[in-house]
Amino acid sequence: MPITGAETAPWAAYLFCLVFVVASAIIARNLTRGMAGRKWMAIRDMDIAAEIIGVNPLKAKLSAFAVSGFFVGISGALFFSVYLGAVEVGEAFGIDKSFLVLFMVIIGGLGSIFGSFAGAAFLVLLPVLLKNTLVGGLGWPTDIAAHLELVIVGALIIIFLVAEPHGLAQLWRVAKEKLRLWPFPH
């Protein structure tokens, strides 16, 4: 059963990647709950305070860099070998790709593993939805739809950064809490 190349069945490639995603997610979730993750969060929130309570900033920052490099490496390898099949360095891994990943994290919510997934799903599905409704459904010209997509994604990033820095993950958390108490919040 091939998982790369033109003969690959979509479900095979999907399941292959899913294995890596699940494994990485479990590792990442446990990292954020453990000592290493708490050290990183302390450094992120206020590095001087973290240093005073005994976190070594050099170690924490270096390990954060190394661990994120590890995860990004896995995703980059999968992206190029399974999804694209070939790679043109300047194009497949251009600055746009880095920004896209950054926006996924911002919209999903900083400091949350679920948020990264929500943000990724949002930024992948939103353009598809927009394209399908505007071009396929309403019959708009493709260029207007493409430009509108840029406007909408850009506006969302600004709104999230201003109104809800903790992103989709926080919205989800709040919604869950509210629903648990609903309909008698007091």
Binding site: A86, E91, G94
Partner: protein, 428 residues
């Protein structure tokens, strides 16, 4: 989350709605991003020609045309998504013309396994000329290695047949597209004894100061350019800024449209570009386009690109596709052809002067005949020059053939290597 999924599903269902027309043509265009200035006229020409056939003749061979547009932004990933999303449209897409060498390289294995022909007119993978290996890929009437040879032949002719010791710079888009001619130029450099200087420009190409500083310092006798999109305008402006003699500056056919030179104004006068078809709007088919497409309000885009170099090229691409459809319909005796029959039509396509005259395009392109061994035409091209005062490109040479001796050897080597790597048994 659930709601969003439902909305997506709903939208997907809405897309599947449109009428099931029979000849599905997908226009993978780019009207946004740094390559839009070149993508728009090509796509307008491509769509307008099919609109003309629908409005005037009611389709091709009595069969209506379903034209689907998909925006790629000249981005390989989006281009592949467009391909995957549209290949099953209607009764199946007949042919893809991605207008991007990067997308072409990604699609070659996909179309070969899906059985959909790919036509890369004047771009894409050059060794696809060898139809014995690349069964589903066509690149008639000319390819990049032809273009490289045309440029060198033109320089040879200008200099009395001797260019040994000359220094020739290649300014190229640092992608699959721009790297394509290097191998041929290296071989030609060996043969003719000139020195080749390589200057890559990274995507999207609006920053070229260092490359042109190097040209100013090393003073190459000629500059050849493989540029696209915003890179063209910037390169020509930079060449003007360093007062590089414009008549020694030759662009490939993708670096020679009005949108590329107009920004640099009067001083871009004399810039040369290759072409593999004729220029201008002095053809009977334009009267029909005016009458059936523009006057009825069906022109694609803003309708302001008609008669430009790239509009003509888009129209030429559409015309070749339509002729291949006609050939396929005759061969198989059915009007609603499928992708496999389309491939047969393309492989047996013959463009003659008589045929082009009947289409209202006399003398528009070279005559050629496609066969299983040769998917790439005969490699004829000409040189055009920008006349800033008149605001148009004009042909300054006749059509001449590329150095077939070198190119056919390279095509043979490269396609044999591809066949070996991918376990393809070459055969006609």
């Amino acid at each position: 989350m659930k709601q969003r999924l439902m909305a997506t599903a709903l939208a997907a269902a809405m897309v599947a709605g449109p009428a099931l027309a029979d000849l599905t043509i997908v226009d993978t265009s780019y009207r946004t991003g740094p390559y839009a200035a070149n993508g728009i006229p090509f796509s307008d020409g491509y769509q307008d020609y099919f609109t003309l056939l629908s409005e005037r003749d009611g389709g091709i061979g009595g069969e209506p045309i379903n034209l689907v547009e998909c925006e790629t932004g000249y981005n390989t990933e989006k281009g592949v998504e467009c391909y995957e999303a549209t290949k099953g449209e209607g009764s199946g897409a007949l042919v893809y013309q991605p207008l991007s060498t990067g997308i072409t390289y990604q699609l070659i294995p996909k179309v070969s396994s899906d059985g959909i022909p790919l036509h890369t007119m004047g771009y894409g993978r050059t060794s696809a000329k060898n139809g014995a290996v690349f069964k589903w890929v066509f690149n008639y009437p000319a390819n990049y290695w032809d273009g490289a040879s045309h440029a060198i032949t033109h320089i040879l002719n200008e200099n009395g047949g001797d260019i040994s010791g000359r220094k020739i710079a290649l300014v190229y888009h640092n992608s699959a597209y721009g790297k394509e001619p290097i191998r041929t130029l290296e071989n030609l450099a060996e043969k003719h004894g000139f020195e080749l200087m390589l200057l890559p420009v990274d995507h999207p190409g609006q920053e070229q100061k260092s490359q042109w500083l190097q040209i100013r310092r090393e003073k190459p006798d000629n500059v050849i350019m493989w540029g696209w999109g915003v890179m063209n305008q910037v390169a020509i402006q930079e060449a003007v800024n360093i007062r590089y003699p414009m008549d020694q500056f030759i662009g490939i056919w993708w670096s020679g449209s009005e949108n590329d030179v107009k920004a640099a104004g009067e001083r871009a006068n004399g810039y040369k570009a290759l072409t593999f078809h004729n220029l201008g709007s002095d053809y009977p088919v334009y009267d029909d386009i005016q009458k059936h497409v523009v006057d009825t309000g069906n022109a694609a885009g803003a309708g302001d690109q008609i008669g430009t170099v790239l509009y003509n090229r888009g129209m030429y691409a559409a015309m070749l596709a339509a002729e291949a459809i006609k050939t396929a319909q005759e061969m198989h005796g059915v009007s609603a052809i499928n992708a496999a029959q389309m491939r047969d039509g393309m492989e047996n396509l013959e463009m003659t002067e008589e045929k082009m005259e009947k289409l209202g395009l006399p003398n528009f392109g070279p005559e050629f005949k496609v066969s299983c061994e040769n998917h790439g035409g005969n490699g004829f091209g000409a040189v055009s020059q920008w006349d800033a005062a008149a605001g148009e490109f004009t042909l300054i040479t006749d059509y001449f053939q590329s150095d077939q001796e070198i190119i056919s050897r390279l095509v043979e080597e490269d396609s044999a290597q591809y066949a070996e790597e991918n376990g393809i048994e070459p055969g006609c």
